[in-house]
C-alpha cells in the first residue's frame, strides 16, 4: 500500500516536470515573440534599425506560462505529499526528497512574489532551474521511499529542515539576482541593453532586491543553524561539533554576516556587493552538494 503511494508520488513528479517544461517553452515564446520586427528610424544622422519589445503582444503567452507554473506547482505539491504518505514522515529523509521539496519551495516563493510584483521576467529562469533540479533528482538522486533512521526521527526535522530549505531557496534567488546584476552591469557598460533585457528592472532595483532578500532571510538562516544546534544537542550529545555540514553552515553564516556589514556599515553597493553575495551563496551550494554527496560526518543522509 505504501509503495503504491511512492508510485503515485513519482507519477506526480514526472507530470510536474512535463508541465514545467511546457511552462518553460511558454516563457521562452513570450520573450522571443515580444521582439518586434526591426523598424526603420530616420533621424538627422541617417536611418537606423531599432528593435523594440512589445509585451502586450505576448500577454496571452505570459498568462499561459504562469498558469502552467501554477499547475506544475500543484502537481509537485501532490507528489511531495504522496511521498510523505508513503514514508510516513515529512519527505526530507534523503537528497532526492530535499531536492523535490526545494524545487517546490522555489516555485512557491516565485508564485507568491508574483502576486505582488510583476516578476514574470524571472519565470524563464525559475522554470528551467526547477526542471534541472527535478531532472537531477529523478535521475541521479532517486532512492526508494524508506522510513527515517532513528537520528532523524524528531520534531526538529520539520523545523530545522524547513528553515534551511527556505533560507537556501531565498539565498539562491538573491544569488540569481546578483548574477543578473553583474551581467546587466557588464552589458550596460558596453552600451545600451539588448532588447530582451530591457524588461528587466534597472540595476539599482536589482541591487536593492538582492540585498533585501538576504536581509530578510538571514535571521531565518540563523534560526536554522540554532535549531540544528538544539537538535544536535538532543541527538548527538553536543550542540556544536564542527561536523563538515556545521562548519559550512557556519561559513555561510559568516559570509552573509560579512555581506550585511559591508552593505550597512561600510556602504558597499553594486558590483562589489554582488560579488560578495555570489561568494556567500556559493558556500551554501557547496555545503548542499559537496557535504551531502562526498562529505563525511553526521549529516550524510543523501543515501548515495
Amino acid at each position: 500500500m505504501l509503495t503504491t503511494w511512492a508510485y503515485i508520488s513519482n507519477y506526480f513528479v514526472y507530470s510536474a516536470m512535463g508541465i514545467f517544461a511546457l511552462s518553460f517553452l511558454a516563457h521562452a515564446f513570450e520573450t522571443a515573440w515580444a521582439v518586434k520586427a526591426p523598424q526603420q528610424d530616420t533621424n538627422e544622422t541617417g536611418s537606423v534599425l531599432t528593435k523594440t519589445l512589445d509585451y502586450t503582444r505576448t500577454e496571452r503567452a505570459a498568462r499561459i506560462a504562469t498558469a502552467l507554473m501554477i499547475l506544475g506547482f500543484l502537481l509537485l505539491l501532490s507528489g511531495v505529499i504522496a511521498r510523505g504518505i508513503s514514508n510516513k514522515h515529512v519527505p526530507w529523509g534523503n537528497m532526492y526528497e530535499f531536492s523535490i521539496t526545494g524545487a517546490l519551495a522555489l516555485t512557491g516563493a516565485y508564485l507568491l512574489a508574483l502576486r505582488k510584483h510583476d516578476l514574470r521576467w524571472l519565470g524563464l529562469f525559475i522554470s528551467i532551474s526547477v526542471l534541472l533540479t527535478l531532472g537531477t533528482a529523478v535521475t541521479l538522486l532517486y532512492r526508494d521511499s524508506a522510513p527515517l533512521v532513528p537520528a532523524l526521527n524528531s520534531p526538529w526535522l520539520v523545523i530545522h529542515v524547513i528553515a534551511a530549505i527556505i533560507s537556501g531557496g531565498v539565498f539562491l534567488l538573491s544569488n540569481v539576482i546578483a548574477g543578473a546584476y553583474l551581467y546587466l552591469h557588464a552589458m550596460e557598460s558596453k552600451g545600451d541593453r539588448k532588447p530582451w533585457a530591457k524588461r528587466l528592472p534597472d540595476l539599482e532595483t536589482l541591487d536593492q532586491l538582492s540585498y533585501r532578500l538576504v536581509a530578510f532571510v538571514f535571521p531565518l538562516w540563523t534560526f536554522a543553524v540554532i535549531a540544528g544546534a538544539i537538535w544536535a544537542e538532543a541527538a548527538w550529545g553536543r550542540y556544536w561539533g564542527w561536523d563538515p555540514k556545521e562548519t559550512w553552515a557556519f561559513i555561510t553564516w559568516v559570509a552573509y554576516a560579512a555581506y550585511l556589514h559591508a552593505r550597512v556599515t561600510i556602504g558597499w553597493r553594486g558590483k562589489r556587493a554582488a560579488w560578495l553575495c555570489l561568494f556567500a551563496g556559493s558556500t551554501f551550494l557547496f555545503n548542499y552538494v559537496y557535504v551531502n554527496v562526498w562529505g563525511t560526518g553526521k549529516h550524510t543522509y543523501s543515501g548515495l
Partner: protein, 491 residues
C-alpha cells in the same frame, strides 16, 4: 624654504591607542570576520582529530610527510588551533571594543531629547507645507504620542523620533554573541564527557573507573561526577525488513539518582536522552556481546561472560577478541560475530541482517604471548598475534562447544550492548539564551526603522512637515502622508 611638517609625537600610549582604534575599526572587524570564515574551510576538508580520529590515522599512513606538515600548522585540530583561536579572540575583542562604547552612547541617546528641529526643513526628505489653522501642533502632539514617538516640544515646532529598537536590537545581537562565546568557554572549562559500553542486564555506576573513556574540562576533575546508577533492563532495535536500515532504538533502564535509594524505570532513545541536572545520558551506539565460557583442560572455568564486539557494517558484522591471560601459555580468540550469517563473500561469510536471526561466532584460537604486559595500550577488540601461533579455527552457534587440546570454548548465547555517552555541559544554557537573544536582536535590527519627523508653524501660519530616515529605511513617505492627513483632518 620648506619647513618639515611637524608630526605629533606618537608615544607608547599613543601607539596603543592607535592599535586599539585599528582593531576596533569596522574594516578590521570585517576582515577578521572574513578570515574566520576562510579559516574554517580547512577544518572541513582535512579530517579532524576530534571528529574523525580514524581518518587522521589513515592520513598519517597514506602520506606521512604531508601529515607531518599539516600537523605543524595544527591542520588536524583546526578549531582548537592557536591561529583559529587568535582570529576569533581578536574578532571578539574588536566586537567588544565596538559594541560597548556604542551601548553607552545608545543609553544616553535614549534618555536624551530628540535633536532640535532644523532651521531649514525644506532641505529634508518628504518636505511638505500647507496653510494651517493653528491647531496643528496640538494634533501633532497627540499623533506623535499615539504612534509612540519621543517628542521634543519647541517654540512653534515639534521634533519627534522613533525606532531606537533598531540600534537596541543591533547591540543586543552583538552582545548575545559574546554570551554564546561565554557559554562555549564555560562548557569547555567546566564540562565533562564520557562513554561507557554497558551490556543488557548490567549496571553502570558513574564513577571514573566505570568509563571506557572520560575527559574533563580544564577546571574540573572526577570529584564533580554525579554518582548515578543506570541498569540496562532491555534494549530493542527495530530494522526495516526491506532496506535493513534501523527504524528505532529503545533502551529501557532503571535509574537511581545520586544520593537516593529508590529507583525508577526510564527509556532512552536516540533523540531523547536521560537528564540529571546538567548531565545528560545519550544512547549513541549498540552492538552484540557474545557470552562465552572458556575452560582449561581440567574443565575449570578460565573466563566467562559477555564480551562486547565492535560492529563493522550496517548489518552488524562485529569483530572482537577473547583474551585469556591467565592460561599458560596465554590464549587468545580472534573472533567475528554474525547476527544473521550467510556464507557468501570473502573472509568466511557476511551478515545479511542486523537482527540476530541466525547468529554465528567465527574464531581462530591463538596460543603464545598476548603482549598485555608490554605497557603499550591495546585495543580490547583486537589481538596482536605477532608472538602467537594459531592452533585452531572454527565456528559455533549458540549453545555449541568446541574442544581443543588445551581446553574448550562454549558459545552460550549473546546480549546486546549499548554505548552510553554521558555529557555534562554547564555552559549550554548560556549559549541557548545567547542564541535566542541573538535572533531577537537580529530581527529588531534588520526590521526596525529609525526615523525623525519634524513639524513647524512659521510666523505666517504655514505648516511645514519633513522627515529623515536613517539607513534609507523605506516607508517614511507613507508615514508622513498619514501624519499630514491626520493634521488636515477636521476634528
Amino acid at each position: 624654504m620648506t619647513t618639515e611638517p611637524t608630526l605629533p609625537e606618537l608615544g607608547a600610549t599613543g601607539l596603543l591607542r592607535f592599535m586599539w582604534r585599528q582593531l576596533t575599526s569596522m574594516r578590521t572587524a570585517l576582515i577578521l570576520l572574513m578570515m574566520l570564515g576562510v579559516a574554517a574551510i580547512p577544518g572541513s576538508l582535512i579530517p579532524q582529530r576530534a571528529q574523525n580520529p580514524m581518518a587522521v590515522r589513515q592520513y598519517y599512513l597514506d602520506s606521512p610527510e604531508l601529515a607531518r606538515w599539516i600537523e605543524r600548522f595544527s591542520g588536524f585540530t583546526v578549531f582548537s588551533s592557536p591561529w583559529f583561536s587568535a582570529i576569533y579572540l581578536l574578532l571578539f575583542i574588536s566586537l567588544i571594543g565596538c559594541v560597548l562604547p556604542r551601548t553607552f552612547e545608545h543609553f544616553k541617546a535614549m534618555r536624551a531629547l530628540p535633536p532640535l528641529t532644523p532651521r531649514n526643513l525644506s532641505r529634508m526628505e518628504s518636505f511638505q507645507q500647507f496653510a494651517g489653522n493653528g491647531s496643528e501642533l496640538e494634533k501633532a502632539q497627540i499623533w506623535f504620542k499615539k504612534s509612540r514617538f519621543r517628542v521634543r516640544s519647541e517654540e512653534g515646532a515639534i521634533s519627534a523620533e522613533k525606532g531606537y529598537l533598531r540600534e537596541t536590537g543591533n547591540l543586543l545581537f552583538h552582545l548575545s554573541l559574546i554570551l554564546i562565546l561565554i557559554g562555549v568557554s564555560v562548557g569547555s572549562l567546566f564540562g565533562m564527557r564520557g562513554e561507557a559500553i554497558v551490556n543488557k542486564g548490567e549496571r553502570f555506576i558513574s564513577l571514573a573507573t566505570s568509563y571506557d573513556n572520560l575527559s574533563f574540562g580544564k577546571l574540573v576533575n572526577e570529584d564533580s561526577l554525579q554518582p548515578f546508577i543506570i541498569e540496562v533492563i532491555d534494549f530493542v532495535a527495530k530494522y526495516d525488513p526491506v532496506t535493513n536500515a534501523p527504524l528505532d532504538y529503545t533502551a529501557t533502564v532503571r535509574v537511581t539518582n545520586p544520593g537516593e535509594t529508590t529507583s525508577e524505570m526510564k527509556t532512552i532513545k536516540v533523540n531523547s536522552p536521560l537528564t540529571f541536572g546538567n548531565t545528560r545520558v545519550y544512547l549513541q551506539a549498540n552492538g552484540y556481546s557474545p557470552i562465552v565460557t572458556v575452560r582449561d583442560s581440567t574443565g575449570q572455568v578460565a573466563l566467562q561472560g559477555p564480551i562486547p564486539f565492535l560492529p563493522q557494517d550496517g548489518n552488524l558484522r562485529s569483530i572482537g577478541s577473547i583474551k585469556v591471560p591467565d592460561a599458560d601459555p596465554q590464549l587468545g580468540f580472534v573472533a567475528s560475530f554474525y547476527p544473521t550469517f550467510a556464507r557468501e563473500g570473502g573472509q568466511g561469510g557476511i551478515s545479511v541482517f542486523p537482527e540476530a536471526l541466525d547468529p554465528k561466532l567465527l574464531f581462530s584460537i591463538w596460543e603464545g604471548d598476548l603482549g598485555l604486559d608490554s605497557g603499550i595500550p591495546q585495543s580490547v577488540y583486537r589481538i596482536d598475534t605477532s608472538k602467537m601461533k594459531r592452533i585452531a579455527l572454527d565456528s559455533l552457534k549458540p549453545g555449541e562447544t568446541f574442544s581443543y587440546p588445551e581446553g574448550s570454548i562454549k558459545f552460550e548465547t549473546f546480549v546486546p550492548w549499548i554505548n552510553l555517552q554521558i555529557v555534562d555541559d554547564p555552559g549550554k544554557s548560556y549559549s541557548l539564551y545567547g542564541a535566542i537573544a541573538a535572533i531577537l536582536g537580529l530581527l529588531a535590527s534588520l526590521f526596525g526603522r529609525r526615523r525623525r519627523i519634524w513639524i513647524r508653524i512659521t510666523s505666517t501660519g504655514v505648516v511645514e512637515v519633513a522627515g529623515l530616515a536613517k539607513n534609507g529605511a523605506p516607508g517614511l513617505d507613507a508615514e508622513i502622508e498619514r501624519f499630514v492627513t491626520h493634521l488636515k483632518k477636521e476634528k
